[in-house]
Amino acid sequence: MIVLRELEGCSYKEIAAITSIPIGTVMSTLSRARRQLQLALADPTREEATHEL
């Protein structure tokens, strides 16, 4: 999700098409992924739940 949005610069619509999830779910999934990334960056010892990145 992060890769599609931040690295590939996809819109939510494109992300929804690529990942086959409803467009309404993109924002909440992206929100969760960013939170985990923020937490991981803030505390590098945390390695859990990085699959959403």
Partner: protein
């Protein structure tokens, strides 16, 4: 995190995915929600740190080549067999369509049951010819004037005969278009009525007359000697049959 917008809508705003109304509304909210303002700053800093880290890495050209090469060799094996039944079905459907269309066209041209569309077209042509000045292109009761007139105007030579003695005086001739092709139209008088006889070449064998009516007009259609004849008029059907017999003699 107590503000629920900090968890969701803020991402839509941050990614420019909100519509103008939603964005304006969220900006008003930002002014009075320090939590969302902080979160927005955190998102900006996350993005800039990712940009700084230059995480984007292009796959090496050799990998791209390898993947494309693998795709190239896999395609004939993996894709075509799966599609073959559909392809045959499509070809069969195409042939059916062509055959059906061809049959339709042929049956119209052949006039085996004198398609109503063709009859209507000839009735229309006859009606058109009754408009002032449209009846004849060449006005003559002399078949030796009318017949040469068609030379060079048609790719065939219509049989032009005068039946004045039998009560069908030749009035003249004209060119007409019936079913997309140029045909000869001969005009005969019958008492106070007029009869249009359309003539065009056909590859069908001779056929005895078939009659019909359309819009109060009668038509009689027959084939003789490689020509198709279609007589249209408001005279009685018996008169058309008499004219047909004269042509057949």
């Amino acid at each position: 995190m107590s503000c629920d917008r900090a968890g969701t809508v803020i991402h839509g705003y941050f990614d420019n995915e909100l519509d103008a109304l939603g964005a304006a509304e969220f900006e008003r909210h930002l002014d009075e929600c320090p939590e969302c303002a902080r979160e927005l700053e955190a998102l900006k800093s996350l993005r800039s740190s990712m940009n700084r880290a230059q995480l984007y890495e292009r796959a090496p050209a050799t990998l791209r080549k390898k993947v494309l090469a693998d795709l190239g060799s896999a395609r004939p094996v993996a894709i075509i067999p799966a599609r073959t039944p559909w392809r045959w079905l499509a070809i069969a459907a195409a042939f059916l369509l062509i055959a059906y269309t061809g049959w339709q066209v042929v049956s119209v041209h052949r006039g085996d049951n004198h398609e109503p569309a063709l009859a209507a077209e000839m009735v229309d042509a006859h009606l058109r010819s009754l408009q002032p000045g449209h009846l004849t292109d060449v006005i003559s009761t002399d078949q030796h004037t009318v017949k040469p007139w068609f030379d060079g105007k048609l790719d065939f030579s219509p049989p032009v005969r005068d039946f004045a003695d039998q009560g069908f005086p030749l009035q003249g001739g004209r060119l007409d278009i019936v079913h997309g092709r140029a045909v000869a139209a001969l005009v005969y008088g019958r008492r106070k009525h007029l009869v249009s006889v359309f003539i065009w070449p056909t590859s069908e064998r001779d056929a005895s007359p078939r009659a019909g009516s359309q819009q109060g007009y009668h038509w009689l259609d027959w084939r003789k000697g490689g020509m198709e004849f279609s007589a249209v008029s408001d005279v009685a059907p018996a008169d058309l049959e008499q004219l047909q017999r004269l042509f057949a003699e």
